[in-house]
């Protein structure tokens, strides 16, 4: 009996809701833009603030954001949802995944005219990032930021190890031997760890560092479906594993354990992405950080100063069969343009803004500690192009399983690289899939 009454009650409620909503809505229907993001923690909060600000700034478009779990689950959901036409209107993706997503038919290209209609131009974005957003001559994403790998240091511990100059900044480190020596000296003179970095099984950090170090040697990773780094691959991993096997760094720490080792003043250096900056800023402000910290771009260990980086960007899922109307595209891009123009707030997450008018504004240039490593954007190196490449992509998943094994002494560096290659060989040989 009660059950039969339910639809009627629902209908009544719906009518009531319509009446109430109709009373306050403007004459023109509001366009709702559904967004999926993989941003959690501080980044998630900052993106939510940008969405709220945008929604409050006008009445035509309303962005509704959903946060999904970072990494592989996010991309699996985005890919499958988009190809069956059930994806969101806009999504945050990594620029390193553009070849994978655009080539796989997951994303919809954005026409220059569509960008121009909301006042966006390709030349307003950092050139390296803008070119990473292109695939086969078409634009598939609008870059938001650059987040490179950097070197954090504890000024107290580095000072004890004699690694600071008169002004209290890190003396320049040139060459992999000099970096190893810095870690060793810091370990020996302070009794703490010279270095801390995430190195637990399945962590991507070792892959990022390994990649950056290979690119610094002008070594290509992959060409024509083959791994081309040769003996440099194992030799470079051996350099990294040496830091761990000699005790300069502790192997097996997961992300929270590695950052808290640095935040607790138990490691002189930390190799990590810039996304840890807000935590340091917060702890400094709260007075809970027991030391002064500094940041430098990844040191030049070999021939050049390249550093691994990735970028967040906005992309439009293809949603085949449910392609967005021009009005919807316009609404999405209005939001994207708003975020680009207000990306100074986003920079407080440690990221370097990809929108040049913001990145080059005096406010951004004086923003600390971002100014310490802003130049890293010029040396940013992404995962190589390939359908299997990119953040939390299939190749990174394989690398994250085997490369850390060399730091534990569970495999030799040569074995770890060999196992990585063997398992990745099938991916690299395979034809790029249409999802």
């Amino acid at each position: 009996m009660a059950r039969r009454g339910f639809p009627r009650a629902a209908a009544l409620l719906a009518t009531l809701f319509l009446v109430l909503a109709g009373g306050s809505a403007p004459a023109r229907a509001q366009v709702e833009v559904r967004m999926w993001t993989l941003l959690s923690g501080g980044d998630g909060a900052r993106m939510r603030a940008l969405v709220d600000d945008f929604n409050a700034s006008q009445r035509d478009v309303r962005v509704v954001s959903t946060t999904l779990r970072w990494g592989e689950p996010f991309y699996t959901k985005l890919i499958t949802a988009s190809v069956v036409g059930a994806g969101p209107d806009v999504a945050t993706v990594h620029l390193s995944r553009i070849v994978n997503l655009a080539g796989g038919g997951v994303l919809r290209p954005i026409a220059p005219a569509e960008l121009a209609s909301v006042g966006l131009r390709g030349r307003d974005y950092l050139p390296r990032q803008w070119s990473k957003a292109q695939y086969e001559g078409r634009t598939y994403a609008v870059p938001l930021d650059v987040h490179p790998l950097v070197l954090y240091y504890n000024k107290t511990l580095a000072g004890q190890a004699g690694l600071l100059d008169a002004a209290g900044n890190l003396k320049p480190i040139d060459g992999v031997a000099a970096l190893t020596a810095a870690f060793r000296t810091a370990t020996e003179r302070t009794g703490r760890r010279g270095l801390t970095m995430e190195s637990s099984q399945s962590s991507y950090a070792i892959w990022r560092l390994w990649l950056a170090m290979l690119v610094q040697q002008n070594v290509t990773i992959i060409a024509n479906g083959r791994f081309t780094y040769g003996p440099a691959g194992a030799a470079t991993l051996a350099h990294i594993s040496e830091w761990f096997t000699r005790g300069y760094a502790q192997a097996g720490l997961d992300y929270p354990a590695s950052t808290s080792q640095f935040m607790g003043g138990n490691a002189a250096f930390m190799l990590n992405g810039v996304w840890e900056v807000p935590e340091l800023v917060r702890a400094t402000k709260a007075g809970t950080l027991g030391f002064e910290y500094g940041i430098v771009p990844l040191p030049k260990m070999y021939a050049n100063a390249s550093t691994w980086a990735d970028s967040h960007a906005f992309a439009l899922p293809a949603n085949s069969g449910h392609e967005p109307s021009p009005a919807k595209v316009q609404a999405i891009l209005r939001f994207v343009a708003y975020v680009s123009q207000h990306s100074l707030g986003w920079a407080q997450g440690g990221h370097i803004p990809a929108y040049a008018p913001v990145a080059e504004s005096p406010a951004a240039k004086s923003l600390m500690p971002n100014a310490l490593y802003a130049q890293a954007a010029n040396d940013a190196v992404y995962d190589p192009d390939g359908w299997y490449m990119g953040a939390a992509g299939p190749l990174e998943a394989i690398a994250s399983k085997f490369l850390p094994a060399a730091l534990y002494g569970y495999m030799t560096p040569a074995q770890a690289v060999h196992r990585f290659e063997t398992e990745a060989a099938r991916l690299v040989r395979k034809r790029p899939p249409r999802y």
């Binding site: 592989e72 699996t76 890919i79 499958t80 190809v83 069956v84 796989g104 637990s200 099984q201 399945s202 097996g252 299997y388 299939p394 998943a397 399983k401 085997f402 850390p404 094994a405 534990y408 569970y410 495999m411 196992r419 063997t422 398992e423 099938r426 991916l427 395979k430 034809r431 899939p433 249409r434 999802y435």
Partner: protein
């Protein structure tokens, strides 16, 4: 009931069969429909998929046996099969032996029977997420009760040599209750008179077990081993949640490799080939086991 009727049936066999055919099919229909719809057709579909190059949502080119050819030369696949068998080795025999022992305890201590049975069976009721959560807590390197008792700070689930045995021990604790029930039913079917008669003849302790309990339980043991073997080869949830296949793929079992291929690499064609190949391996293994059981029975006869 007429006495003649029973002798009539064999004579009119064919007509009766025809008359019974319709109701028989009608009675079978619900099962056949479910079987066809949810097992047979998907299995055929999977086989077809394994002959194609497919992503998660799109079936592309027909590639014949290419996927199987790749599979034969794929060390990752054979590693994962090896891990699966290692897990089966670590679980099947202990689960059966422990199950039997616990069932005999329940059978013996009649006064606390309810309590014992409850305690042994309770873990089996837990959902896998709860079981893995408990195992994870207990195995924590610095705060877990296992290291508290044993001393040391071993990261059990991150240790290449200990991760799979640790998962196996958790699984044994979780599922042994089912075997206890199975063996208990078997034990209760053994007539008490047999033991009384043997006792009169002077049989004691282990002799009773060897000459009465074990032969009588033989069919139950065979069933338990087969069920357990299949369950252990199908392992996925425990390793997926506790270790996600790590460290360094030492706990990546066959089904996990299939899952990764399908969902991380979006390669449904190859994943289907892994599935079919694994099914073939399990079927072959079951046939070998059935043959061994038959051979043993013949030898005893």
């Amino acid at each position: 009931m007429h006495r003649d009727e029973s002798t009539l049936i064999p004579q009119t066999g064919p007509t009766t069969a025809r008359r019974d055919a319709l109701p028989a099919w009608l009675l079978l229909a619900p099962f056949l429909a479910a079987f066809g719809l949810f097992f047979f057709v998907p299995a055929l579909e999977t086989f077809w998929l394994s002959l194609t190059e497919s992503s998660l949502t799109r079936t592309n080119a027909f590639v014949g046996l290419d996927n199987y050819h790749t599979l034969l030369n794929d060390p990752s696949f054979w590693d994962s099969v090896g891990n699966t068998f290692y897990f089966a080795l670590l679980t099947v025999i202990p689960l059966c032996a422990l199950g039997l022992l616990m069932a005999m305890l329940v059978d013996r201590f009649t006064r606390v029977q309810g309590w014992l049975q409850g305690a042994f069976f309770l873990p089996f009721v837990l959902p896998i997420s709860v079981m893995t959560l408990i195992a994870d807590w207990m195995l924590q390197p610095s705060s877990g009760v296992v290291n508290h008792v044993l001393g040391g700070e071993r990261a059990w689930l991150a240790d290449p040599h200990w991760a799979l045995p640790a998962v196996a021990i958790g699984t044994i604790w979780w599922t042994v209750g089912f075997n206890v029930l199975l063996f208990l039913a078997g034990l209760r079917n053994i007539p008490a008179e047999l033991y009384e008669a043997a006792a009169l003849d002077g049989a004691r302790g282990f002799t009773l077990f060897r000459t009465i309990t074990w032969p009588a339980l033989r069919p139950v043991v065979t069933t338990a081993v087969i069920l357990q073997l299949i369950a252990s080869l199908k392992v996925f949830g425990q390793t997926y949640i506790l270790t996600s296949g790590g460290p360094f793929n030492t706990t990546r079992v066959a089904l996990h490799y299939m899952y990764e291929t399908a969902f991380t690499q979006s390669d449904a064609g190859y994943a289907a080939a892994i599935a079919m190949a694994f099914v073939a391996i399990v079927v072959m293994l079951s046939l070998v086991q059935a043959w061994i059981v038959k051979w043993l029975a013949r030898r005893d006869a």
